[in-house]
Symmetry: C2
Subunit: 155 residues, 2 copies
DNA sequence: CACCTAAGTTTAGTTTCTGGACGCACCATC
DNA sequence: GATGGTGCGTCCAGAAACTAAACTTAGGTG
């Protein structure tokens, strides 16, 4: 399978991975959630080639994850902001952060703390069931084909 | 920045992405959570080169996400199973699935349904606060440097 | 013996990523 | 009005990653 074919798979993971599933896109999204908006800032913080930044930002804009908006005229300069679709990626980013905190934090602890404004506490994200609101673990879930599955395909 | 430098960043996203953040690793994990355990099965389902399967499985084993265990002798054959560290990635995978379901499901609906055995319902994953147990949205969170941050680094 | 499976390894060709230079439109300073 | 700085790119040659397809190893089947 080629990478470009991922988007056509009857699998939500594949379709998502086609958009966000490469090394640098995830890092760009991390920075976007930390408030980074400008090309130069992304490039400086990541230290990767400008070509890749250009290409990844374009993909994210094309997919509607980021929106390009002018922040000045003469010369026109644009910044990249998370759209609602982009903000919907927050659970993905937080889940990744949490896994890193669990398994790769040094003895010093987590590099970043996240405070939930509503309750004022530093928190960890917990995945819960939308129906019964209890935390969900992998072994408590049964997966089966849904309405959008191609026949015979189980992915 | 080089790809291999990601693991040394004082950022849990970077350290996680160094392990799971490429196109095919995420697809391999998807299949692992669906019960795939053997080399040939991963290769057939993904349709990518055997070289990459070999390399990615090795990385995941080295990182302790998968464990290689013999399932027969003569000839010795191994299978790859998720470790606890691997199972801890379930929220990441589910968050990605959910985002795909939200934004890329066709009119037919989600390709896969997930039933929570505890309550018997098909569910969506909801990210909640570990302290107050309320759902958390991106805008309700304040991020700041934690104990594991390098001085002056805000990522 | 020829053929099959599972799990890789090797090889050669293609694609992607990289750093670094360059372009362009404006602004500020000398 | 020449020089330098900023913001956001593009272009290029070389390096790295990925690909398909053939080959290997260790055994099983007819």
């Amino acid at each position: 399978m080629k990478w470009e074919d991922l988007a056509d798979q009857p699998c939500s993971i594949a379709r998502s991975v086609a958009v966000i599933g490469d090394r640098w896109t995830l890092m760009i999204l991390r920075d976007a959630f930390l408030g980074v908006r400008r090309f130069e800032a992304f490039q400086t913080r990541l230290g990767i080639s400008r070509t890749i930044i250009t290409e990844r930002l374009k993909l994210l804009v094309d997919e509607g994850v980021l929106a390009k908006a002018p922040y000045q005229d003469r010369p026109v300069r644009h910044e990249y902001r998370l759209t609602q679709k982009g903000l919907d990626l927050y659970p993905v980013v937080m889940a990744i952060v949490h896994w890193g905190d669990q398994h790769y934090a040094g003895q010093a602890g987590a590099p970043l703390l996240h405070r939930h404004k509503a309750c004022g506490c530093d928190f960890a994200p917990v995945m819960t069931c939308s129906e019964c609101h209890a935390p969900v673990a992998a072994r408590e879930v049964e997966t089966r084909a849904g309405p959008g599955a191609a026949q015979g395909v189980t992915s």
